[in-house]
């Protein structure tokens, strides 16, 4: 007699290994924490050079984006991400990687339809829903006079 889909689903769940949540969380904490510590170090260095808080924060973001883009181009970032997981995905460095990686990959289809069109293939949804939710938040804040 043939196995049913639900029987097979049960069997598949028994056989298929799950991701190791505890290990992934520890690595994400360590590597994500390290990236944020580097960010803090940069901010403090910029402040030390006499910049204002706003300037130092902006320059820290720009620096982290640059470092991540460079490491992506040097074929290093994805190797860190193998261990870092969410720790490399969530900080602004992950956003940088998600734009630079497709830009490099799809260059072979030309600068317009390849690089230009595919650059935001991963980051695009983040931008769309990030901007949309910030607008919704802004409207709610305005209507309820939360600011």
């Amino acid at each position: 007699m043939k196995m049913t889909a639900s029987e097979y689903d049960r069997l598949n769940k028994q056989v298929s290994p799950n991701s190791s949540v505890v290990k992934n969380c520890i690595f994400a904490f360590l590597i994500g924490g390290l990236i944020c510590t580097i960010g803090e170090f940069l901010t403090n260095s910029f402040l030390h050079m006499g910049m204002l808080q706003r300037e130092a924060a902006a320059l820290t973001s720009v620096s982290l984006i640059f470092i991540a883009a460079l490491l992506t181009g040097l074929n290093v970032y994805d190797n860190i991400a193998k261990f870092g997981g969410a720790g490399t995905l969530v900080p602004i460095t992950g956003f940088s990687n998600s734009i630079v990686a497709p830009a490099l990959e799809f260059k072979s289809e030309g600068f317009v339809l390849g690089l230009g069109a595919k650059m935001f293939i991963i980051a695009g949804p983040v931008l769309v829903y990030g901007i949309t939710s910030s607008v919704v938040y802004g409207v709610i804040a305005f209507l309820f006079k939360l600011y």
Binding site: N12, S16, G73, L89
Partner: protein, 339 residues
């Protein structure tokens, strides 16, 4: 002429002959346990080409040329070439083989394509429609990643059930007569779907097709797993192989002792990137055209069932939430021909 056995299987009465075979692989394959059996290994994953797609075409071309060389034949001697790959519209095959001037039969069976090409070619040769043909398939990790998953440099984590697409091609020359090994029987697979939707667990999606084809073959031929030295699946990997054993046991057939999987042979078992095993058209093709046919050549293996499995989804079907159908084609390879 082929004789029909039961509903699914053909007995190839003239026992088409495998005259020569060749496997070409990349850097990672060259570091694996089967490296010594490959004919050509290249440390440069791009094979000196500008794009990953061109690199994959190059793999096929090199595999065909090497197999023809070993048989002492030239492209003009070949009447049909049966080829396929994983890329959209099978461009690795068509671009790789376009200069050869051989009548081309393009096949698509996802990762099952090598067994499909052996079966179709075997039927052509057995029926007398051709006396010299070539079968070839390929896959390339980088071209497959960019088509099916993420850009190479994107920092993501692979799930434990995911599989690693092999960068390799395998090709062979089939002739009407020769010293063997011979293609004795072929079972064309049915499309099976038990509702797996996870594109990162293709072993689970393909195992039901493998089980169905094996059952069809055993029923049609009246054989059992013990009738063969080895039952080799294409790229079920760890998860798919376990599920295949369980599905076969559900029907009262035990195959675990006789079974191996190309996806578990080509890379070292402790390779952390590979996760559940290797996959891709080039996986079963290159393992067949290196390790397996060598073992048949020196008589360590005499009768094997070679069954490549394919997951028949596309990126669109996965995004639309469809489940993943599988297919598995089987050929019986033997060192003795039908009397």
């Amino acid at each position: 002429m082929p004789t029909r056995l039961g509903k699914y299987t053909l007995r190839l009465d003239n026992s088409p002959n495998i005259a020569s075979f060749a496997a070409v692989g990349g850097k990672k394959e060259g570091e694996g346990p089967l490296a010594d059996f490959f004919d050509i290994l290249c440390d440069d994953t791009s094979f000196g080409e500008q794009t990953w797609e061109k690199a994959e075409s190059r793999l096929q071309k090199d595999a065909v040329n090497k197999a023809l060389d070993k048989a002492g034949l030239s492209p003009s001697d070949i009447q049909y070439i049966f080829a396929g790959d994983l890329l959209n519209q099978c461009t690795s095959s068509t671009y790789g083989l376009r200069d050869m001037g051989i009548p081309f039969v393009g096949l698509y069976g996802a990762c099952s394509t090598m067994a499909e090409s052996l079966a179709v070619s075997g039927i052509f040769v057995d029926a007398g429609a051709a006396d010299k043909t070539v079968c070839v398939t390929s896959s390339h990790f980088c071209s497959a990643e960019r088509q099916f998953r993420f850009p190479l440099e994107y920092g993501g984590q692979r799930t434990p059930t995911s599989q690693w697409t092999v960068t390799a091609a395998g090709g062979l020359v089939m002739t009407k007569d020769g010293e063997g090994p011979y293609v004795r029987q072929a079972t064309i697979g049915t499309i099976e779907d038990l509702g797996i939707k996870d594109a990162n667990n293709m072993g689970a999606a393909m195992a039901p097709a493998a089980a169905a084809t094996l059952q069809h073959f055993f029923e049609d031929t009246g054989t059992t797993p013990e009738s063969f030295d080895l039952i080799v699946t294409g790229d079920l990997g760890q998860v798919g192989s376990e599920l295949l054993y369980d599905l076969m046991r559900h029907d009262g057939v035990e195959i675990q002792k006789r079974h191996t999987d190309c996806g578990l042979l080509i890379y070292p078992p402790d390779d952390k990137d590979v996760k559940a095993g290797a996959s891709g058209c080039g996986c079963s093709a290159s393992v067949l055209c290196s390790y397996l046919l060598n073992k048949m050549g020196n008589r360590e293996l005499n009768d094997i069932l070679f069954m490549a499995t394919g997951a028949l989804m596309s990126t669109t079907s996965v995004q639309q939430g469809e489940s993943i159908p599988g297919v598995a084609h089987l050929v019986h390879l033997s060192n003795t021909k039908w009397q």
